[in-house]
């Protein structure tokens, strides 16, 4: 079915004026979007995929402008149209949804009202009919109890539901094009599937065309008709998922396909042919025998971390009814008396949906949060006895570090990348010599693949992947024994993820570091972790060696989780 193109971008180039000169963010990019089609723009962070769509919607930063090329929508030249015409088009004909749904919603306005606002703004409803139409929109995005949820505030909804509200707002006026910029990054795997299925179904039923911007090749492969691969501002290859995955032509595409962890046998297989692993890790068989050996050694050496009956309760506020009855409401139990051990050099995966208590568990182990009950034994000492503030200064702090989930939030907006990485060197390792600090920072940046030119930059000048790397370098600075990683590679491109995972594996071998790897991405857990713990509702419902749990899950819930991961070319032989 060949329909005429609804959006046609030809030789588009975008430049940014910065103090260091002009940056060519997008160079000569062309793509075509037809009605009913879904096109994916896949690329690493900093490749210009988001900037391309911002340029099409004309919502670039004030330092950016379209330097050449054109973007045509239904005969209208978007790059030349006046602002008044664009305001009309945005939301009504071309809609966009962004990565962080909470940032896209007004936190002090009920979600239903926000949908109604969009409708009224584009004259799709009057004040009298807006409420009805907004509730209908909520129903269409499969939010249960839409009448009640109309007056809910964004903070009362989960991340997945907020994203659905944003989708409802975007689709409220039945636009012809929907641009989705990383809509499911940060959502857990079951919610991701639900949101992507929703976008696909609505696209089909409304006869829309959509552009999906993502760094997840697997996701693009499952949901899109056509994939455009971008690198450093240029389009390097485009084609159907079948063509790209089975017969990639450009070396960059080949690297991307190889680095996507679906169906990979081991971590080394993720790396491109030209990149050698930092240290030679032999074939698959020796890796398995390694783990057997270290498994034997493990049983003999004491665990680096032992958690016994760890529990965290959050008190619930008393309502008027409780006052009248003279009762106290039962506290909310986030973590329900869990126990597990981590041995030196072992990596444990902690998986589960959002809200299951894994972040609370990792915060307690990292001693950023006080447990309500239970004990945490680290290197032979019960660290749950220390108060959070005492532990910050103690000797053990250097040996127990954490990498955070949201790279943007985990960096001080005022300090450069170099200062952020140097912070633990100065305060934990008490290094005072400036030159030594600088050398160490460079070495750490090198280890995580961060170019030295990026070190003097502030966080808002770095891309998401670069920020994530700074966070990892910072955590490694004090050479910890146990590293807690809270979704560290979620924001990273697959090729960088491959390098970082191999780095983590290598460090594990060399330094005997143990990991607690909290993640939604089951493929990554499968490759990196020796054992896996599945959490649900604050309890560990299944635990065991990774291969065993993934190949023969005992629990129904584990099976559900495994089934929700994006299927990479189902049924196509690799």
């Amino acid at each position: 079915m060949i329909s005429h193109p609804i959006l046609s971008v030809r030789n588009l180039s975008v430049e940014f004026r910065t103090r260091q000169g002009t940056v060519n963010a997008v160079n000569d990019v062309s793509l075509t979007l037809r009605k009913g089609q879904t096109v994916a723009i896949v690329g690493e962070s900093g490749s210009g995929k988001s900037v391309t769509s911002y340029a099409v919607m004309r919502i670039l930063d004030r330092a950016g402008h379209i330097s050449s090329g054109s973007a045509e929508f239904s005969g209208i030249r978007l790059d030349q149209a006046p602002e008044s015409q664009l305001k009309d088009l945005r939301g009504r004909e071309i809609s966009m949804i962004f990565q962080n749904p909470r940032a896209a919603l007004n936190p002090i306005r009920p979600v239903g009202q926000q949908i109604a606002d969009v409708l009224i703004e584009h004259s799709q409803a009057t004040r009298a009919t807006a409420r009805e139409k907004a509730i209908e929109a909520l129903r269409r995005v499969r939010i249960g109890n839409p009448e009640e949820r109309f007056s809910a505030y964004p903070f009362e909804l989960s991340g997945g539901m907020c994203q659905r509200v944003v989708i409802a707002m975007a689709l409220a006026c039945n636009p012809q094009i929907l641009i989705a910029d990383e809509p499911t990054t940060g959502l857990d795997v079951t919610t991701q599937r639900a949101v992507m299925d929703l976008i696909r179904d609505l696209t089909k039923s409304n006869g829309m065309a959509s552009i999906l911007i993502t760094h997840d090749l697997g996701l693009a492969g499952e949901y899109c008709d056509n994939i455009v691969v971008m690198e450093r501002g240029r389009v390097v290859e485009s084609g159907t998922p079948h063509e790209l995955f089975l017969h990639p032509r450009h070396p960059y595409t080949r690297r991307l396909v190889k680095a996507t962890p679906h169906h990979a046998e081991n971590l080394k297989a993720l790396l491109a042919d030209t990149v050698s692993p930092v240290r030679e890790i032999d074939s698959v068989t020796s890796e398995r025998s390694d783990s057997h050996q270290s498994g034997f050694a493990r049983e003999v050496s004491p665990p680096v971390l032992e958690v016994i009956d760890l529990r965290k309760e959050f008190p619930r506020a008393r309502t008027m009814r409780d006052w009248m009855r003279g009762e106290k409401p039962p506290p909310f139990v986030a973590v329900d008396s869990i126990s597990f051990k981590i041995f030196p050099g072992e990596s444990i995966g902690l998986v589960g949906e959002s809200g299951c208590g894994k972040s609370t568990t990792s915060a307690m182990i990292a001693r950023l949060l006080d447990p309500s009950a239970g004990s945490i034994w680290f290197r032979g000492k019960d660290i749950s006895l220390f108060k959070t503030s005492e532990f910050a200064q103690g000797m053990l702090r250097a040996k127990l570090q954490m990498v955070f989930q949201d790279p943007t939030e985990s960096l001080n907006p005022r300090t450069t990348a170099e200062q952020a990485i140097a912070d633990p060197l100065i305060h934990l390792l008490q290094i005072t010599d400036r030159r030594e600090i600088r050398t160490r920072v460079k070495a750490l940046a090198d280890q995580v693949g961060l170019e030295p030119a990026l070190l003097p930059r502030l966080p808002h000048q770095l891309s998401g992947g670069q920020k994530a790397r700074v966070g990892i370098a910072r955590a490694l600075a004090s050479a910890p024994d146990l590293l807690i990683l809270d979704e560290p590679t979620a924001a990273l491109d697959v090729s960088v993820q491959a390098v970082v995972l191999n780095l983590l594996a290598d460090l594990k071998e060399r330094l005997g570091m143990a990991y607690l790897f909290v993640s939604h991405d089951l493929e990554v857990v499968r490759l990196l972790c020796d054992r896996v713990l599945v959490m649900r509702g604050g309890r560990i419902i299944e635990a065991g060696p990774t291969k065993q749990v993934f190949d023969n899950p005992r629990e129904e819930y584990t099976r559900e989780l495994l089934a929700a991961a994006p299927r990479f070319l189902d049924g196509v032989p690799q």
Binding site: F16, R17, T18, R19, A63, A366, L368, T388, S389, A392, Q393, R397, A398, Q401, M402, F404, Q405, D406, E409, S410, L411, N412, P413, R414, A420, D423, P424, H427, L428, L458, H460, Q461, G471, R474, A475
Partner: protein, 281 residues
């Protein structure tokens, strides 16, 4: 030192309004420092024969009721007015900001008690408080500065408290804890620098207010007293002459006040641009 200067030049180049504001402020500071030496007449010298002369080539702003040159007095007054407002605002900013930051970071009882103290301060009208302080410890300029500083304290405390509370649970604060920083360093070394942009805007708005406060207080006789030249007193004394047609006594000091407040308000944006790292492209 080169980087902050380069950044200043960049900020001024990208926004002409900021440039205008900083230029005017620079002029005010210059007059404040060198004013008394460059004025044509002694601001205190009275020549009764030349009293109430309208603006002319000898007396650009005319003369007042005892023959003093209004122009010289307006220029000389810059120093005193700037001193009063800058010191009052500086005191408010430092003390109010620190209290607010502690309140926002620690929460709990600290927050509640400090909040009620601030409420009490906010309940006082400026003039009543100033009169109280003056009655207790004498009618001096220092006491007027103190009164102005106390009155403006709650505004800084509120802004600081809100901004710190928002950032208290941020990822980078947790990361700083992981890197071994003590709570005190985290609060004053990390969080407070991050809340400077909104505080800068508060400062600039407040400077205008502080000048008006000082002028108002001297209008009713507290603090600065004649014959010391100060814009507020000059407006007060000149007010009664407007009716009889000698408009220049009150107009020119009033214009100076207006220009000063205008400059400070315009500077707010510029100050924020200077301090906010996100503005650096």
């Amino acid at each position: 030192m080169a980087k902050p200067l380069a950044h200043l030049r960049y900020v001024m180049a990208s926004n002409p309004v900021t440039f205008l504001a900083f230029t005017l402020f620079g002029l005010m500071v210059f007059l404040g420092i060198f004013g008394p030496w460059i004025v044509p007449y002694d601001p205190l010298a009275s020549t009764p024969t030349a009293a109430l002369k309208p603006p002319s080539w000898q007396h650009w702003f005319g003369t007042d009721q005892v023959g003093r040159d209004v122009f010289s007095r307006v220029i000389t007054a810059t120093r005193l007015d700037l001193l009063i407002s800058v010191s009052a605002v500086a005191m408010s900013f430092v003390i109010g900001g620190a209290l607010g930051a502690l309140s926002g970071f620690l929460g709990g009882w600290t927050d509640r008690i400090l909040g009620r103290i601030l409420d009490t301060i906010m309940a006082f009208p400026l003039f009543v408080l100033a009169m109280g302080i003056v009655a207790a410890s004498g009618n001096t300029v220092e006491n007027v500065v103190l009164a102005t500083a106390i009155i403006n304290l709650p505004f800084y405390a509120r802004v600081a408290r809100a901004e710190v509370a928002t950032r208290r649970h941020a990822g980078w604060v947790q990361a700083a804890k992981l890197a071994g920083n003590s709570d005190l360093i985290i609060l004053f070394g990390r969080i407070v620098p991050n809340i400077l942009p909104p505080m800068m805007v508060q400062i600039s708005l407040n400077m205008g207010w502080a000048i008006l406060n000082a002028a108002g207080l001297s209008f009713i006789g507290l603090g600065v007293r004649p014959p010391t030249p100060e814009w507020g007193i000059m407006v007060a004394e000149g007010a009664s002459y407007i009716v009889s047609g000698e408009w220049w006594l009150a107009l020119f000091p009033g214009l100076a006040l207006m220009t000063a407040v205008f400059t400070f308000n315009l500077m707010g944006d510029g100050m924020r641009d200077l301090v906010d790292p996100a503005r650096r492209t």
